[in-house]
Symmetry: C2
Subunit: 321 residues, 2 copies
């Protein structure tokens, strides 16, 4: 049986990078971080619970990837560069058959983004994964929710709705052939945080948020925080490659209300369209202009001919329904 110390040292402790911000990593009462002068720390926490955020049978490698990816996505939405994270882990038992792939998936993504595991906690309990991630951002450059301006374009990175489509197939709400399900499920299980795009948008975008609970709700946070409204063209929304094959009503519903996309929704002044497009090209991500920020509060939906569309909007809430 692995002890707590063996578990940490075997699966989670890695040498620090050269140029690391970590002055002291795993193994003391605290880790020590030294942020670069003139920078702020961006900090975000997420907790994933078995049976709620993932199935008991979930692939441990993909789970390790996903639980860090959703945190990196929050950094991306502020334009911050990942530097480090802590991991608090409750486990029913210290099973190597789970720990090995979980830590591999987690640390592969961490390595890709230069984000070091600097500390945390392990304990016995129902499988629960709690990560707090740290990013660095030059003072005043963070992309905040409250910074959208009237007249801003609204942009979406990548595509929306395939993660929700995979969930619908798992729930037998609809049928997908095996290949389509596999492609859509990749979006659910192994989201790609838009870190490079978020950083490239510093000084270009005004407001940003990551789409984790559905575009309507998440864009709604920007509108509320910035005290503005928006008009969004439903026909302009970028549907996921598999969702594109579904009927329009389902497409619209899943893009607006589906969660787990981890794309960025951001606003930028219309005179910076060229800069937005070259930032996206530099980051290797498609971006699509889907609407405009307006003075009148609320979210208005139109079709490609500018005709109003009425849809039921509902964002995900952990304690309702």
């Amino acid at each position: 049986m692995l002890s707590e110390f063996e578990l940490i040292s075997r699966y989670f402790k890695r040498p620090l990078h050269p140029g690391s911000r970590t002055a002291l990593g795993i193994g003391d009462d605290c880790a020590l971080l030294t942020p670069a002068p003139g920078c702020q720390l961006a900090i975000s926490s997420d907790m994933l619970v078995e049976g709620r955020h993932f199935f008991a049978q979930a692939d441990a490698y993909a789970l390790g990837h996903k639980c860090l990816a959703v945190n990196l996505s929050d950094l991306a939405a502020m334009g911050a560069q990942p530097i480090a994270f802590t991991l608090a882990l409750a486990l029913p038992a210290a099973e190597e058959a789970w720990l090995e792939p979980f830590s591999s998936g987690l640390l592969a993504l961490a390595q890709k983004y230069g984000c070091e595991l600097i500390g945390g906690d392990t304990t016995k309990g129902p499988l629960t994964i709690s990560i707090t991630v740290f990013g660095e951002i030059p003072l005043t450059q963070a992309l905040r929710r409250d910074a959208a301006k009237i007249g801003d374009d609204i942009w979406i990175s990548g595509s929306l709705g395939d993660a929700r489509l995979a969930l619908a197939a798992y729930r037998h709400e609809l049928h997908l052939d095996a290949e389509s399900l596999h492609t859509a499920a990749q979006r659910m299980h192994q989201p790609a945080p838009r870190v490079a795009l978020g950083m490239a948008l510093r000084g270009i975008a005004h407001a940003a948020i990551d789409v984790s609970d559905g575009l309507s709700g998440d864009l709604g946070h920007i509108l509320q925080g910035s005290r503005v409204g928006a008009c969004v063209d439903l026909d302009a929304l970028p549907a996921g490659t598999i969702l594109q094959q579904q009927p329009a009503a389902l497409r619209h519903d899943f893009m607006l209300n589906g969660g787990d996309d981890y794309e960025l929704c951001f606003t930028a002044p219309s005179h910076r369209r060229e800069q937005v497009l070259s930032a996206a090209e530099q980051a290797g991500v498609e971006v699509t202009r889907v609407g405009i920020i307006e003075a009148t509060p609320g979210l208005r939906l139109v079709d490609g001919n500018d005709n109003p569309v009425v849809l039921t909007l509902h964002s995900f809430d952990h304690f309702s329904a």
Copy 2:
């Protein structure tokens, strides 16, 4: 039924302090912290799970206090000043009868130490509380585990063993009268993090650790980290006020092996005894000199007459036994 947003805004969102390091608190993708120039961030995470770290019937106010206190204790052990924390919370249901006292206990302690709640996550799940705490410390002044020097005095703050004594009474391993149990249980349920002492020991102490899993194991971490050994005088160890009334064998066992004390164990050169004592006086905490750091690896126990004592030592491990 409370929504997730109402829950956070009602129970956990508070105005920021003047002079706060928090540039942006709860409500965006990330919080933003601006550490003081010339300072490092000390970071620690702890996860508390129902049935493992506390009983289902635990008083919610005391639990709110304790889950932050154990994290502040880690900052204290580095000599860091608390500035902020994040809270990730899995809850079976959003019950106001639990949330109100829990958040009150948590935020009362946070307020006492100027430690702001800047973000986190709430989700449905088995009751699990995961806190990541941030402290500030001038560069090079952190009290690390690997900094003990041969010839250093070993000191303990406050007293040891009453938390373990209360646990023994709860487990019916022994009987305590109601008043004694109440006093001892206070040590278990509402530990006082030694933040002021940790900060006062900057530049005076060499190594420090907080005693959470038992003195023998925790001092053992200093010895391992610093590649030294120690001799500790069992008769010098400061027993808790209730534990003092117990037989010597039980006293020694609970002080060495009992967890949940959250005192500081630290080392300092013998020529700084006066400075240690005035730091402790300034912090309003008793400190007791209990041993000495030696070159020979391992922990040797002696009695007040310097005769060797052999005891079974065992520290707490979440995945053994």
